[in-house]
């Protein structure tokens, strides 16, 4: 989707991630207030609230019923979009492009610690043929890694190098969940989970949330806001659900989402200064780089470890993973870096949902100087 009506991100907030001991209401109020304060905007000025969370994690049907107040959506245009928060950003962008909204608060959150993510993740698989196999997101990550990571890379040494690189990034990220860089011995002792993946290769189940203030240029100017980044392009695509149907190109929808985002932004890969991928496990950084065209086939892990391209400077999902809104967190991390780091003006951020990365969305962001 070409974003020909300029859409700007004028405020953002990322909560600390980890295991929280307050309530979901504390969390949602914190992120909404944080993003509005960062933008310098009062709640009454927003036209719409678009948000994402999982009912299953909240333990409530229609959980949006309970959070509209705290997210600032009282008597506003509102919709809840499932299942990754990056789709909330997509829908907010649609609304702004029509002119029916000029400023939208986009929010996503998860209180993963209050539920059992593996169990509810299993419920996303086809109920007749796949669910009884007890598939979940960890097994899904292992299936993807088994399919896409060359055997020569499937060693504890490589696994540790990938983890160390990501955790070192997380150590420098104040809002990350996992900030500790483990020793090799600690990594070796990490229990096997699925396939060749250990627990430490997989993202944590984080409590946390993120909110963005998205608006038009005119709105920003009228209200004295300082746009941080502009949304230059958006891409989204969907694969088939059944794994047997995906043998030709198991991550075809990821590839298409990235291609669409770049094409609609009229942006070449060379112009992208850094990427924020929503990686299902550390090893998948390599295949994601290759399939999105940032690395040659078979070179993804090597390129990542060499630092040929800045990948997941936030630490990625490996360091903070609020289930259901990890993609929106990747976007927010990219915006934060564009706002603060001196070395980047263009970023690609990615999110996904569904079993084995079935639905993918990518956004190209540009720093507003």
């Amino acid at each position: 989707m070409a974003v020909d009506t300029p859409v700007y991100i004028a405020g953002y907030y990322i909560s600390p991630h980890g295991v929280r001991h307050d309530t979901v209401h504390d969390l949602i109020y914190e992120i909404a207030k944080g993003a509005l304060q960062h933008a310098g905007l009062q709640q009454e000025k927003i036209d719409a609230l678009i948000h994402t969370n999982y009912d299953w994690l909240d333990g409530k049907g229609i959980s949006s019923l309970h959070v509209v107040d705290g997210l600032g959506g009282n008597l506003k245009e509102e919709s809840k979009v499932s299942d990754d928060g990056i789709y909330s950003l997509f829908y907010a962008t649609l609304r702004i492009r029509t002119g029916l909204a000029r400023c939208v608060l986009v929010a996503g959150y998860a209180m993963s610690s209050e539920s059992e993510p593996r169990l509810f993740n299993n419920l996303a698989f086809d109920p007749f043929y796949q669910r009884p196999l007890e598939l979940d997101d960890h097994i899904g990550a292992a299936v993807l890694a088994e399919a896409l990571v060359d055997k020569s890379w499937r060693t504890p040494e490589t696994g540790y190098q990938l983890l160390k690189a990501l955790r070192e990034r997380g150590a420098g990220n104040a809002t990350a969940h996992e900030k500790k860089v483990p020793s090799y011995e600690e990594y070796e002792r990490s229990p096997a989970v699925a396939g060749f993946l250990r627990q430490m290769d997989l993202p944590p189940d984080s409590d946390g949330g993120v909110a963005l203030v998205v608006c038009t240029a005119e709105f920003a100017e009228e209200h004295g806001l300082r746009p941080v980044a502009s949304i230059k392009g958006f891409g989204a695509s969907t694969h088939t659900h059944y794994l047997g149907h995906r043998l030709q190109n198991i991550l075809g929808s990821f590839q298409k989402a990235c291609e669409k985002a770049l094409a609609s932004a009229e942006c070449s890969r060379e112009k992208v200064d850094f990427v924020e991928f929503s990686e299902p496990c550390t090893y998948m950084i390599g295949p994601l780089l290759e399939i999105s065209g940032f690395s040659s086939p078979g070179k993804g892990i090597e390129d990542f470890l060499k630092g040929s391209l800045t990948v997941n400077p936030s630490g990625g999902n490996t360091c903070a993973h609020p289930t259901g809104t990890a993609g929106l967190l990747r976007v927010a991390e990219a915006v934060k870096r564009l706002d603060n780091a001196p070395d980047g003006t263009c970023a690609l951020a990615h999110g996904w949902s569904g079993p084995l990365m079935q639905l993918n969305a990518a956004v190209v962001l540009e720093k507003v100087s």
Partner: protein, 386 residues
């Protein structure tokens, strides 16, 4: 903003339990039906939005993933909207935004529910706050009964007999609608003598639980005119929310719906809904709500809506036909019910409503309700491109 029109619609036959299809088959039937109605192929659809009410109804998490092929979404953007009972309406509005924004020239919106595969009232009780509400949660009828009781207490001229009249109208309208779930011809006595579910609501004042799905094809102006002789042009939309815990929440004088109506009328240039709107399809999950919602939409002053049914104004041959389809109290696959209102309204505007067609309908308003009394979606459509 690009002009957008509805060029194809479909709804399944709503029944207590569809035993011939699973959820995938039910959803696919609606998607295929809408494309056939629009005269297009799956490849013509550029983006898809789906919606259903709580996933706990069918016990399937992220249902759009399993259903992606059923709605022809492979290789396309697909997202799901989830706004409780409003979702049928807000998903249709999502389809509108896909086209109005330029993200797609043709978009498909699909909603569904197969309530026979779960226990809806248990699921609805799980919507209540686990600490403060769930101990006394009793599904949806208790909430609607509270609203109806407050409505009568505030306006003593409102009587249970008015709810009987609304139910009599809508349930008998459904007799002529081949897609409706409950098509039993009822007398006023049948309704008056039916048992209470939660006082003051009797069983014939209440919606059934249905299996069903609906789908709409939206197109930008050029494609709409090429593909459809008489499209239904979208003139205004709103998905307005009110906080459930916000101070001053009023379940009778519903602020969210009032604001939504104000916005839609303003967008469409309507100053007098009586003058400019020919037909209304609203989300009457309970008979009392038809009166409450009509007041909020500006068709009557507070407490005065009963005269609309007393005087026959909302009958199918009245000045403002309301729910000529039979409404939600005759068919309620919850996640689809809001979109069914849009489908019925569009069919009236497109003159494709068959045995329930009302002559001369040019402009129709479709409504959906969800959450506590807090989520309201409105879509106004017209036969005129304007």
């Amino acid at each position: 903003m690009r002009k957008v029109a509805i060029i194809g619609v479909y709804q399944t036959k709503h029944v207590l339990r569809r035993t011939d299809v699973n959820l995938f088959g039910l959803v696919n039937e609606a998607a295929r039906g809408a494309l056939e109605d629009a005269g297009i192929e799956p490849r013509d659809v550029e983006a898809v939005v789906v919606g259903n009410a709580p996933e706990t109804f069918e016990g399937i998490n992220q249902p759009e993933a399993w259903l992606a092929s059923a709605v022809f979404a492979q290789g396309k953007p697909l997202f799901r909207i989830h706004t409780g009972g409003t979702v049928g309406g807000s998903t249709g509005i999502g389809g509108f935004y896909l086209v109005a924004s330029g993200a797609a020239d043709i978009a498909l919106a699909v909603t569904f529910e197969k309530l026979s595969e779960g226990e809806p009232q248990y699921s609805l009780s799980a919507c209540y706050d686990p600490f403060w509400g769930r101990d006394f949660a009793a599904g949806a009828p208790a909430l609607a009964a509270l609203q109806a009781t407050e409505y009568m207490a505030r306006h003593p001229s409102v009587k249970e007999e008015h709810f009987d009249l609304v139910a009599f109208k809508n349930r008998n309208n459904a007799v002529d609608n081949p897609r409706a779930h409950l098509r039993q011809k009822l007398s006023l006595e049948d309704i008056r003598n039916s048992p209470y579910v939660v006082s003051p609501l009797r069983i014939h004042h209440c919606c059934p639980t249905s299996d069903g799905a609906a789908a709409i094809v939206f197109a930008e102006a050029g494609r709409a005119k090429n593909l459809c002789k008489r499209p239904a042009w979208i003139k205004g939309v709103s998905t307005t929310a009110e906080g459930a815990w916000y101070p001053g929440v009023d379940i009778v004088t519903v602020k969210a719906l009032r604001q939504a109506a104000k916005k839609v009328y303003s967008t469409a240039g309507i100053t007098d809904p009586w003058k400019d709107i020919d037909l209304v399809e609203l989300y009457d999950a309970f008979a009392s709500q038809e009166l409450i919602w009509l007041e909020a939409m500006g068709f009557a002053e507070d407490g005065k809506a009963p005269h609309l049914i007393e005087e026959g104004i909302t009958l199918r041959d009245g000045k403002l036909p309301v729910n000529v389809s039979g409404g939600v109290i005759s068919s309620n696959p919850i996640g689809a019910s809001g979109m069914i209102r849009q489908v019925e309204a569009a069919q009236q505007v497109m003159q494709k409503a068959g045995p329930i067609q009302i002559d001369g309908v040019k402009t129709a308003l479709a409504h959906a309700w969800g959450g506590w009394v807090q989520f309201h979606a409105l879509m106004l459509m017209s036969a005129e491109e304007g």
